[in-house]
Symmetry: C2
Subunit: 187 residues, 2 copies
């Protein structure tokens, strides 16, 4: 709120929190650990994020913003062909698996750690999954196939598989082909 000085502080805290939460898990990383790695005082962090849940929520929100931008970019570059747009969504995720810091989907991971919770972080995660699934459904619908929801289910299974895969290179290599085949078969 009344924070005028040190404009980069919030981002720096979020950077550290993101790296730790994403690579080690939310439950595994304590606030003290984050404070230590940021090198700031406790006050500063709790002034920016009153509770751990707030920090986790901010972590997910930022992840989501970046992901949404990457997705929009991929869709923009895919052009107007609905099939290519659907493939682009899968390809964008597959491309992410190849980054060395990839460690699965932060939203799915969070729900594995907090399966029953209904706090803002869990809500964010479920929201993300629901909306992304809807996007796939919409794109499939634009194709004009006989069973758009069946196609969307297949694409979604591929996406789920990509995020869950422990064999990233191999998964990334086949996912796009499988998506194309599913689209071709639906026609």
């Amino acid at each position: 709120m009344a924070r005028t000085a040190a404009p980069g502080t919030r981002e720096r805290i979020l950077d550290v929190a993101t790296a730790l939460f994403y690579t080690e898990g939310v439950r595994a990383v304590g606030m003290s650990r984050i404070i230590g790695e940021v090198g700031c005082g406790k006050n500063l962090l709790y002034a920016q994020f009153p509770s751990k849940a707030d920090l986790v929520t901010a972590y997910l929100d930022r992840f989501r913003e970046r992901r949404d931008r990457a997705e929009e970019k991929a869709l923009r570059e895919a052009g107007d062909d609905p099939a290519e747009r659907l493939v682009a969504v899968v390809a964008e995720i597959a491309g992410r698996l190849r980054r060395p810091d990839f460690r699965g989907c932060p939203f799915r991971n969070l729900l594995t750690e907090f399966p029953d919770g209904d706090e803002p972080p869990e809500r964010r995660a479920r929201e993300y999954l629901r909306e992304t699934r809807e996007l796939v459904g919409c794109l499939a619908g634009e194709l004009g196939v006989t069973d758009p929801e069946g196609l969307a289910d297949r694409i979604w299974l591929i996406i789920d598989g990509l995020y869950a895969s422990g064999f990233r290179e191999r998964a990334a290599a086949v996912a796009v082909d499988m998506a194309r085949e599913a689209i071709a078969a639906a026609r």
Copy 2:
């Protein structure tokens, strides 16, 4: 060791621990909680399982035994056709999604909670994934297709997707079809 009486105790503890670990997560469930729900004393539990890691390991081991038996049964009933055997592996997993208590793969879930660990539980989980992937590779190899490993990658992506899916009914409905199509396309 010198435990002769109360033969059902160990199983009862394991039953409670399994239900809690699987549905709520290993990190989320404390030993005190398990002791409370079993209704036994602390000593008894620690006599059977000297540490939480031992209990978690036993939980995974028992899960694995049952899963292996189910898999063997599915393979037995599938007969000798390699394609049907491969489909049977996918179908067996898809069938599991339909159970109300399904909450994903306990091994994958554990690795999400403990991504970097190298203790017995994490070893069990990685071992299971490696061996199951090898089984899929073997079954694909028996098909005599030109690219058995590529086919195995596809089947494995479907399996990963099944376990990760938040839309279980829909995933289960399309997974077997996708597996059949992948096999047909590989020929």
